[in-house]
Symmetry: D2
Subunit: 261 residues, 4 copies
């Protein structure tokens, strides 16, 4: 990854913070600020964080902003359908070109996550303030650095299997819920030249983004998915390599009419 | 899988067969018929094959046809953009619900494959009639049953890496090309309750779908990806499980206003 | 897989059945017989089952028996160290050559499983007769055919993460335990030309191998891991391919002295 | 990973350097020194490299040395059988506890690699000084940082599939060989709390460890597999968690006689 600080953009639809009193009390400056604070707390000079929200022009995700973003963090819940398809395309292209993406909690139903996964990303859910315990199942993974073998959260919204995702390339955390469900809560996938991390914890009505361990996982994940310095990735180009790298013995006349992709 | 024969629908855009003389000579009844013949040859009574093409109403892929399809095979090259988005959605939903999908050669750029993968599915290519050798890298896989350690095809269109796909859940064949490239040519992914197999060989201007080994791989793959008898898969439903399976100790009042998905 | 019935050998150390009254009452004919009965119940004519135990000559696993075995099922708990290393080598070689292996419950600490995994296969455990619920996380998998989205077992010995195994090639079931742990309970790996399935449920002092769903999973797994008809797998041979398949331009004199493997 | 430099130990059996003139000319100070130089060249102050060889007491791999090693690099070819089993056990335990391991070329047949893989690790080979081209198939991977889409090596010993390894957790490079074979040449696996990288290029009679790109890959891999600062990994302990984390309703008396692991 680049020599300087990792440039992170924390995106939030920021809807419930405006409409719901409980949420306002827990996240007076918005969930994005709590998440941003957690990154600064753990990564200090190693990170430069900005935020962006749905209401800004281009949802705060202009070409310029994305070009200066090594990792995009995504929070959405109530307003997935209000995110402009053109912006989703733009983010998608940037992820494939190497920008890291961290999707949090209800972001599982965001357009960008569903587009990258190719599945419905559906799950079961229940809000009963039950207990969650996230068990580490991959102690070799840098996202688990400095963390205990499990993380406990006293009150959460439950997400249960089947979580309709492609099998993760790396499965790092599995959640246990008091009410009887399990969930693949910390998952990585590689897409193009980019890396995607999904992390389940979070909810507007619980102070989860102030939790020390949750902040540590998110901070570790930012380092893990951060864009590499360079990549030969072609981003959708399908080049015709007319001159072979090694000699070909066959004599053959190409029928060009076929190749009008 | 179901007790009776596997019900296969071979789909073909069937464009080049109408416009190109070389293609007409090699595949006088269309690529779909050559593929269908290969399945019947290998699977006999174990399979019931029909075909469908772009020009038919609903591209031949009505709800009824798909409901009676255990495995859909996909050939497209020149007319990916002419496939109706609503049909793509329909096929996507069926795959997630368990219908197997076998994507052949230039189908890598089809809408349905790109939607299931979440990536550009781009690759390098060259048409120089060079030699291809597919090496088996997973001899445990049922798709390799009855096949030698490698398959040779004397004249092919080359596809080269980077093939922009998610890392396959199962990588079965890797191709060597005379001109210097390699390619992940036999790949499986699981999506929802369905299985997807991509197989590289094929091209309109080479008689590849008459090759004994290619036909064997495709026939094996039909058995491998065939729809299971049943599945509890929810296909996008996100049920609220109000009553927990096990007791929860927390007293908590849910703020219903948040949950208007 | 072969045309005839799948030939299964159920292996059991059969120690606790002789020494413990509770175990004798639950499994009067031994755990191996209960497992064998479950396979016959589900697979009928599709399977031919025999059993083998530690006390037999060569532990009942002669070359002849293994040569006639498509799937070996493994139960051990108290006497892993009494299994002869030469027999372990023999079984290992057979698995790599294509024989399926189903390892049950405490078999996680068997020599053959540890040898195939390359890790300690350690885990947490507790015997408190707590409840277990196995959640399906891959509804596309043939091992889940005909099974509900979860399986409940009222009283079990708990196994908890970290389960020190290589990341499974296919993760099919995750267990929830009443006491607060989770576990990757249904896992597949490919090794050489063979397939390995680990299934957690089972214990000598609970009647788990009479459970309808457990028997269904085991029966499905037998079909899934069964040996293919043939394989080009070399089983450890490292052949020197002196004559290249394609021409090489370099003039080079090999220094043979290096190649005394 | 730790704040200071990564502590690397490059191990070499160092046999052919003593017996073969060609090897002496190419690697006058031994392969281990050429590898060590490549790391220093790329990582500078970020790495502290020492070497160890077969002839030293405990093969240079005392408990103390391993305790001070974040990454062990392994070269062996002619003398795998001379490596003491006790040392192999020691290295195995350290890898599971988090020490990174980079296995080079003919190290595929080393005891430690086979023990971690659980398979024969066999492959095809030919020494004809043919050309190799390594294609990157995962541009998202940090091991590919700063590297082009392919790496060419003019003269190599060929390794061909089937490479009898478990499917890699991460497949990064696939080799094309002039003589017609392919090979999975850059592969990662996670084992316990440790990471393993296998990289194919190298041979005593070719100056491959002076190649700029090969050195870059090895240097990147050292950063990738380096030991984390800490881990809750238990290294084979199987603790009995008598007190559950959450309440269990069942009344049950444990039969202690069963639990004499």
């Amino acid at each position: 990854m680049a020599a300087g600080p990792i440039r992170v953009t924390v995106w939030n639809e920021a809807v419930h913070e405006k409409t719901n009193k409980t949420v306002q009390e827990i996240y007076p400056h918005g969930i994005h600020q709590a998440v941003a604070d957690g990154l600064r707390e753990n990564l200090g000079e190693g990170v430069r964080v900005r935020t962006a929200t749905l209401d800004e022009p281009e949802h705060g995700l202009s070409e310029k902003v994305l070009a200066e973003t090594d990792v995009l963090m995504w929070w959405g819940h109530a307003a997935h359908h209000k995110v402009d398809d053109a912006i989703v395309e733009r983010v998608h292209k940037r992820v494939l070109a190497g920008m890291g993406l961290v999707v949090m909690h209800s972001g599982h139903f965001s357009k960008i996550f569903k587009k990258l996964m190719g599945t419905t990303c559906a799950l079961k859910w229940r809000e009963a303030a039950e207990m969650e315990r996230l068990w580490c199942v991959d102690p070799s993974h840098p996202i688990t650095e400095g963390l205990p073998e499990y993380i406990e959260l006293p009150h959460v919204e439950m997400y249960g299997e089947l979580f309709d995702i492609p099998a993760p390339d790396e499965l790092i955390y599995i959640s246990w819920f008091e009410g009887g469900e399990v969930f693949r809560s910390g998952c990585c996938w590689r897409r193009g030249s980019g890396k995607v991390f999904y992390f389940r914890p979070g909810h507007e009505t619980f102070p989860i983004y102030y939790d020390r361990n949750v902040r540590k996982v998110l901070s570790n994940s930012v380092k893990y998915v951060a864009k590499k310095t360079d990549t030969p990735y072609g981003n959708g180009a399908a080049p015709n390599i007319r001159t072979p790298l090694n000699p070909i013995r066959a004599a053959h006349k190409v029928d060009e009419s076929l190749h009008k992709h």
